[in-house]
């Protein structure tokens, strides 16, 4: 493949477009700690982009910069070819960026269905008065969005737990519901922070399949943090490697696997 071309077609026939998200010279500090140090990388339209690195490398911080929780001291973020002004996380959500968290962040008091319906928030527009009256626009909008949510529920094979309060679900299913909530937003860019952490092999296989299917069927661009190297090498188009807040590798899985810096700093190191 030619990484500098505007677009290319992968071996399995997916089209990868121009960069949608470009991080340019990002530096993020917490007091004396430099979590991210002068890192640049891009995410191309339609690709699955993995971010790997040992614990504390700055991976989650990078996602937090992308969706506006952290504001870097230096650097620029370009989205769809435009430099992004500092924005609040909820404004960034409205631009079509959704994510899941390393530690599950579901709405514990709500059912699976309501959690995923909440993911439709940015697509629902009826005002307070219409909601209060319900009959008419509000109910119609609710049913239209419910239809989309039911598709997500079918896709993730969680029909049976539709009405279950999410607090009662086992860990693996909670991770799946959280993915469902992000998918319900029909994002252009989906950020996944360790979606398979703590899962057994079977659950990991399911999750990998969902991620590949989302990317393939809906063309969703995905950036994913994952520790399981087998999974990363299997499903990602390109990998960026971080260590102690610095970028030490960037390329296809094969390129990264054979990069001496990466082997020294990361692959040799035991991690969870």
């Amino acid at each position: 493949m030619n990484a500098t071309a505007e677009s290319y077609v992968t071996e399995d026939g997916r089209t990868i477009g121009a960069p949608v998200m470009e991080m340019k010279n990002i530096t993020l500090k917490f007091g004396g700690v430099t979590a991210i140090s002068n890192i640049s990388f891009d995410i191309r339209e339609g690709e699955i982009r993995a971010i790997i690195g040992p614990n504390g490398a700055g991976k989650s911080s990078m996602l937090n910069v992308i969706n506006g929780f952290y504001h870097p001291q230096e650097g620029e973020i370009w989205f769809h070819g435009e430099k992004r002004k500092p924005m609040k996380p909820y404004q960034i959500a409205q631009q079509g960026i959704a994510r899941t968290f390393q530690n599950i962040a579901l709405f514990k008091g709500m059912s699976t269905l309501d959690n995923i319906m909440t993911g439709r928030f940015t697509h629902m527009k009826t005002n307070m008065l219409m909601q209060a009256i319900w009959k008419g626009p509000a109910e119609r909008e609710e049913n239209l969005n419910r239809d989309i949510v039911e598709h997500v529920i079918d896709f993730l094979e969680i029909q049976a737990i539709r009405k279950t309060p999410v607090g009662r679900l086992p860990y693996g299913l909670q991770k799946r519901v959280e993915l469902g909530r992000a998918l319900a937003a029909q994002p252009k860019l989906l950020l996944l922070d360790e979606p398979m952490a703590g899962m057994n092999v079977e659950e990991k296989e399911d999750m990998s399949r969902f991620i590949l299917d989302v990317n393939d069927e809906f063309g969703t661009t995905i950036a994913l943090i994952e520790h399981d190297m087998g999974v990363v090498m299997d499903i990602s188009d390109r990998v960026v490697v971080l260590d102690y807040g610095k970028k030490i590798g960037d390329g296809t899985p094969d390129e990264v696997r054979n990069n001496q810096d990466v082997i020294d700093a990361y692959l040799g190191v035991a991690h969870d």
């Binding site: 609040k88 996380p89 909820y90 962040a105 709405f107 993911g119 307070m128 609710e142 049913n143």
Partner: protein
């Protein structure tokens, strides 16, 4: 198997999300509405047993009005997770707003006045909700407590609010709906009752609609996990302020009714003091956080319980009234602790569990 949902399949989303999905529940609901709108007013008009005024003033009006306030507070605390101890002060805003409107615009319909009082209270609630972006939980509770004291102080100090009356009291002039007096000394029990009932049904209906859709889910999202809510696109401040606004709107309506229909005359410290804030919070906790139905039974419980206890302790056991009053405090305190520890979802949850038991009975498996 007294209570069943089997064979009751849903074929549309609308049917799946209706308020009473089970047929038996729906029938129960219509029965209650029929009793509330037909049977009770008839009994009041005929003055069955000779106690129409007693029942209206001791139980019916306080229940209806507190139920409205309780739904209001539950939206803020139970649905949106923002603790407030300012409810008494917000009820006072509704009361004084209705007083000023009634005396300034004698021809304005009392129905409109009550709604406007709610709207004014909503504005005040939003103002006092502004700190909620920065402070949470206990600290927010303290801030709302400050609102409570400030508002009571203000209605005491600024004479304009009580039209410079020498007593410092406000008293409600006579106003009618469709020719029936609902405020003032000569208003009939059944007219006052029906006026408050219509408002409660309206408030409950609006609250149910707001909590079942997009806005309700955004409130609960903020309550359960504000960070995740934000990455979904929920703007925290706007969402919290909308909960403060809607909550205060209902509480303001309740305050206006409490003064104009129920009390007739009021002095702010006595009618809307901090005890009222706590009473309302107890209703919400005992009834069930995050439940409209719970708000209503919580209000019923807190209104009926003292009447019942007093009848038993003073009427039957011949206890001294002050001892009975003290016992009531202990009893309520114990109940609050029990509910907070054992059943944070209150009576509403107990009711759900009971229904689950009935559904399986007599075959638990």
């Amino acid at each position: 198997m007294f209570y069943r949902e089997s064979g009751d399949f849903k074929t549309t989303y609308a049917k799946d999300t209706q308020t009473f999905p089970i047929k038996l529940d729906r029938m129960g609901y219509y029965t209650i509405l029929a009793i509330a709108f037909v049977v009770i007013p008839t009994m009041l008009v005929m003055n069955v047993g000779g106690g129409a005024n007693y029942w209206t003033n001791a139980i019916l009006l306080p229940f209806l009005i507190w139920a409205i306030a309780s739904i209001g507070l539950n939206i803020l605390v139970g649905y949106c997770g923002q603790l407030s101890l300012g409810s008494g002060g917000f009820m006072a805003v509704g009361a004084y707003a209705s007083y000023k409107l009634m005396t300034s615009f004698p021809d304005l319909s009392i129905f409109i006045i009550v709604l406007l009082s709610g709207a004014i209270t909503a504005g005040v609630g939003i103002l006092f909700g502004l700190p909620s972006l920065r402070i949470k939980g206990f600290y927010l509770a303290v801030a709302t407590l400050a609102a409570q004291f400030f508002l009571v102080w203000m209605f005491n100090k600024v004479q304009w609010f009580y039209n410079y009356s020498a007593s410092g009291q406000i008293s409600a002039p006579t106003r009618s709906v469709f020719g029936f007096e609902v405020t003032g000394a000569t208003a009939s029990a059944e007219a006052k009752y029906l006026f408050c009932l219509v408002l409660l049904v309206g408030v409950a209906w609006v609250a149910r609609n707001l909590t079942r859709g997009r806005i309700g889910r955004s409130w609960m999202a903020i309550r359960d996990m504000d960070i995740a809510a934000e990455i979904i696109g929920v703007a925290p401040l706007k969402t919290k302020l909308s909960a403060f606004g809607i909550s205060s709107f209902f509480i303001g309506i309740a305050g206006a009714l409490f003064f104009a229909v129920y009390l007739g005359a009021a002095e702010v410290g006595e009618a809307f003091g901090i005890q009222k804030s706590f009473l309302l919070l107890f209703m919400v906790i005992i009834g069930g956080l995050g439940s409209i139905f719970g708000s209503i039974i919580g209000a019923a419980f807190m209104v009926l319980m003292p009447v019942l206890l007093k009848n038993i302790m003073v009427g039957q056991l011949n206890w001294a009234t002050d001892i009975a009053a003290h016992f009531e405090f202990v009893f309520v305190g114990a109940l609050i602790i029990i509910f907070l520890i054992l059943e944070p979802h209150g009576l509403a949850q107990l009711w759900r569990l009971l229904k689950e038991k009935l559904r399986l009975w007599p075959f638990p498996h």
